[in-house]
C-alpha cells in the first residue's frame, strides 16, 4: 500500500463523487441554467480528478490522460457557454425568479 496507490484511490473516488453529484444536480435542479451549472462545473472537475487518479494507477498512460484533460478543459466550458447563450436567447427558457440578468443588459448597451 504505497502512498501513490492510496492517493490514486482518493482521487478517482472524489472524481466519481463529483460526477455523481453532477448527475443528481441535472436531475434535481429547477431550470435550464441551474441544470447546466450542475452538469458542467462538476463534470469538468470530476473528470479531471478521475483522470489524474487513473494516471497515478498507470503512470505510462499519464501523457495521454493529460491530453484528454486539456481537451476537456478547453471544450466542456466553451460548449456549455454556447448552450447557455442559446438558452438565454430563447425567452421560454427564462426562469421566473431571474432578478439580475447581466447578459440582457449588455445586449441593450450594444444596440
Amino acid at each position: 500500500m504505497s502512498f501513490t496507490f492510496i492517493l490514486a484511490h482518493v482521487l478517482t473516488g472524489l472524481g466519481a463523487l463529483f460526477l455523481f453529484a453532477s448527475g443528481v444536480g441535472v436531475f434535481r435542479m429547477p431550470d435550464v441554467f441551474n441544470k447546466m451549472h450542475a452538469g458542467t462545473k462538476a463534470t469538468t472537475l470530476g473528470s479531471i480528478l478521475f483522470l489524474s487518479g487513473l494516471g497515478l494507477f498507470e503512470p505510462s498512460w499519464l501523457p495521454k490522460l493529460l491530453l484528454v484533460a486539456v481537451f476537456i478543459v478547453l471544450t466542456n466550458p466553451v460548449s456549455s457557454h454556447a448552450l447557455a447563450r442559446a438558452a438565454h436567447n430563447d425567452a421560454s427558457e427564462k426562469p421566473d425568479n431571474l432578478v439580475i440578468d447581466d447578459l440582457e443588459e449588455s445586449k441593450g448597451e450594444e444596440q
Binding site: 481537451f71 466553451v78 457557454h81 454556447a82 447563450r85
Partner: protein, 229 residues
Amino acid sequence: MIRTIVGLAIVLILMAILITVVDDYTVPSALSGVGESYTETGVEDTGSVNLVTAVVVAYRGLDTLGEVVVLFSASTAVVLILTLIPIGSGPTPPSSIVSFTAGILPSAIILFGIYIITHGHLSPGGGFPGGAVVASAFLLVMLGSNTVPGKSKFLSSIESLAGLTFGLLGFWGMFAAGQFLNNLVLPAGSPGRIISAGIIPLISLAIGAKVASELSGIFSSYRKAGGEK
C-alpha cells in the same frame, strides 16, 4: 399518484424480467461458432489486428455498404426537408469565447479524426467514428463564424467520390478474386503495420470521407435553412 403506481409497476416488471435473464446466465468459458472462427483465422484472413474492423469491413463488408447507403439517404432527406422548410432568423453571432475556441481547436480535432480513420484496422475506430470527428471540427468552424455557407460543389463531389470508391473496390474484388469486396486483392502485409490488411484502410478512408462530408452537409444545410440575418 396513478403515475407513481404505474411507474413503480413497470420498474418491478422490468426487474423481474432482468432477474430471470440474469439468473439463467452463465459466463461462457469459450467462444462458439462464428466468433471462434473469426478469432482463430481473422488475422490470417484479413491481416487486420482489430477484429471488429475485420468483421465490419471485410467479413460483413456488404452490410457496411448498406449502412453507408442508409446514411446517404438519411442525409439526403434532411437536406431536402431543410431546403423546403426554412427555420429561424439567421445565425446568432458567436460570442468571443466560441470564436476563439473555433480558431484553435479544429486543426487538432481533424488530426485526431484522421488518426482514427487511418488506424481503423489497428485500434478501435475506423471510418464512421473518424468521419464524425472530422465533421465536428467543421461544425465548430461554422459555429465560430457569422456567415452562411454558400453552395458547395466540393462537399458533394467528395461524398460521391467516396461512395464510388467503395463500390469500385467491391467490384475490384469481384473481378480479381471472384468475390464482391474481397479483402485480399491487395496483400495483407504484416499485421500491425499501418499499411497492411488488404483494402481495409482504403475502405476506411472512403467511409471516413463519406461520413465527414455527409454530416458536414447536414450541418451546413441547417445553417442555410436559418437564412441570412
